[in-house]
């Protein structure tokens, strides 16, 4: 892969993320905002319904077969740190991407006017409206960022393992566990929570090949029992 090719691919990917961002903004403004105004529980039911619809549309369009991206030799390429330890380039790239994205989000939320508006709207929607924040637009922007980030995560998932239309729910559970372990409302906590969950799953799988996911769940439940506020207490809103 030469440089020009890489840059073109990158631009196309950027288009994909922009598409997801627009999609997210639209879904938020047209569907989720309306359900938020009915009741917070309605939002939960509506998004759950949407997930069933999307999952089955994917099933119709792409069949239940498992797919994976063809990354050529890159998928198995790794650098040998010590004779016992080698790190794959793809997982390393994904980890670095996660750190960069989280840093960017943290900076965006803490330094920009829109970031401040998002934090304020999450804290107290009515008070932010009174202070002149267009909370519907702000929620739309937040949804756009969330959708684009999830699209990036979906590509990362597809490049590191095979996937099928029903692959989403399990990842949702892992993402949720990472958030709770790390502490709701803290981005660095989420990164730490993700690392703890990943280590728990890997160590669990080392003890018993089929025990990885269960070990992750047990660590999550232990955190919930012993430290329900998570590792890092939120400075942002909850």
């Amino acid at each position: 892969m030469n440089w020009a090719n890489a840059i073109v691919q990158g631009i196309l990917l950027g288009g994909l993320y922009a598409l997801f961002a627009v999609f997210g903004y639209g879904v938020q403004r047209l569907i989720i905002q309306k359900s938020l105004e009915v009741s917070p529980l309605t939002t939960l039911l509506v998004t759950f319904g949407l997930s069933v619809v999307i999952q089955n549309l994917l099933l119709v369009a792409a069949s239940a077969d498992s797919h994976s991206f063809d990354l050529g030799s890159l998928i198995s390429a790794s650098m040998r740190v010590t004779p016992e330890l080698s790190i794959g380039y793809v997982p390393l790239l994904i980890f670095v991407t996660a750190v960069v994205v989280l840093s960017g989000l943290q900076l965006f939320l803490s330094r920009t006017a829109m970031g401040r508006a998002i934090r304020a709207s999450a804290d107290d929607q009515e008070a932010s409206s009174i202070a002149g924040v267009d909370t519907r637009h702000v929620f739309g922007i937040a949804a756009a960022i969330a959708f684009a980030t999830v699209a990036l995560a979906g590509l990362a998932l597809g490049s590191s393992s095979s996937f099928d239309p029903s692959a989403g729910p399990a990842r949702l559970i892992f993402a949720f566990e990472a958030v709770i372990i790390g502490g709701v409302g803290s981005l660095w906590g989420t990164l730490a929570g993700g690392v703890i969950l990943g280590v728990a799953q890997a160590v669990g799988a080392q003890i018993d090949p089929s025990g990885g996911v269960l070990a992750g769940h047990l660590v999550f439940l232990a955190v919930l029992a012993l430290r329900p506020q998570g590792l890092i207490r939120a400075r942002l809103a909850t």
Partner: protein, 337 residues
């Protein structure tokens, strides 16, 4: 919304009634329906009663989910945990020689007992976090259970103890069990909502913060409902294994059960006893006519659920009550001029 008002504050112009005559007629009507339904195995073929067994199971599950979401605002996506616990309790007892039908009450008790400590864990989570948290608990139960080779592991196993029973008699017995469990689930829901705690729950349904500030023990009421709902879902799971004669862990612990409960309770109407009955009838008809379309059927179901949640938040029964003032199981106070 039903108006609730303390009897002492009613002025002379307004008469306040609650639960007496209309409730009596409702209960007598329900008893007649149950007796008529109980004669069905003598009247119709087994495919009809099998269909009704599935409908009764869904009715039980949806009623329990409605109790959680409709009255306590607790959206659980993890009630399949207790469906599974119910089924596996019956399996374990049957493997030790207990008659599977007699094991159903034990499944209810075991599941209720498990739900108590779990409630302390999941009640630490709010709203959407509670929803996914209950799901994690269900996944953890599933992953623990498939580690027991004697319970079939991940591939599933048959239910022993019913091989020598005549199939026609067994199907009738399953039908009567399902009818009894469904009637019991509705009766328990009715009694719970007519009790003092029912007032608390109705207050929580209408405005949780106002209820809390009026001295309602919100957390206690929610915990009771969570445990009752776990017990009811276990009865549903126990009926599932008894009617299917086998259990597959991934199927019984499937999040699809929660999706069905949500759909039925939502389309019928949250926050009423009648809603899940209406919802089960509609769902069963849709399932019978459209299930062969596979993914498109689920796409339709999801779309209908989204539209109902957004535009008819009290479901079809909610529209009926607000238009015609009908209540089969009245548990609120009514004002008459």
């Amino acid at each position: 919304m039903m108006a609730t008002i303390a009897p002492g504050t009613a002025t002379a112009a307004v008469r306040v009634t609650r639960s007496r005559r209309p409730a009596l007629w409702g209960l007598i009507g329900a008893a007649v329906v149950v007796i008529l339904l109980a004669t069905l195995p003598y009247v119709v073929y087994a495919d009809v009663t099998d269909l009704l067994v599935n409908a009764f199971i869904l009715l039980v599950l949806a009623s329990m989910w409605n109790l959680l979401a409709g009255y306590c605002g607790l959206i659980s996506v993890g009630q399949q945990a207790y469906v599974g616990v119910g089924a596996y309790t019956v399996l374990v007892l049957a493997q030790h020689g207990v008659n599977p039908y007699l094991a159903i009450p034990f499944a209810v008790v075991v599941s209720g007992a498990i739900a108590v400590p779990v409630s302390f864990l999941v009640f630490r989570l709010r709203a959407e976090y509670f929803a996914i948290g209950t799901w994690v608990v269900a996944e953890a139960f599933f992953l623990v259970l498939i580690r027991f080779r004697s319970l079939g592991g991940g591939t599933g196993t048959g239910l022993p103890g019913l091989a020598l029973v005549d199939p026609a008699f067994r199907q009738a017995l399953t039908y009567w069990s399902a009818l009894a469990v469904a009637a019991a689930a509705l009766l328990v829901t009715y009694l719970l909502l007519s009790s003092r705690m029912g007032l608390d729950l109705t207050a929580i349904r209408d405005n949780e913060m106002a209820a809390r500030s009026s001295g309602v023990r919100v957390t206690w009421a929610k915990r009771v409902v969570y445990v009752v709902s776990a017990a009811g879902c276990a009865a549903g799971g126990a009926l599932l294994i008894v009617s299917q004669l086998n259990v597959v862990a991934s199927a019984i612990f499937s999040v699809g059960w929660s999706a069905k409960m949500i759909f039925i309770a939502l389309i019928g109407g949250l926050g009423s006893i009648e809603g899940p009955i209406v919802g089960t009838a509609i769902y069963t008809v849709i399932q019978q006519t459209l299930a062969q379309f596979g993914a498109w059927y689920l796409i339709l179901l999801g779309t209908v659920a989204v539209l109902i949640a957004m535009f008819l938040p009290r479901g079809i029964w909610g529209v009926v009550t607000s238009q015609f003032h009908i209540q089969v199981f009245p548990v609120g106070y009514w004002l008459h001029r």
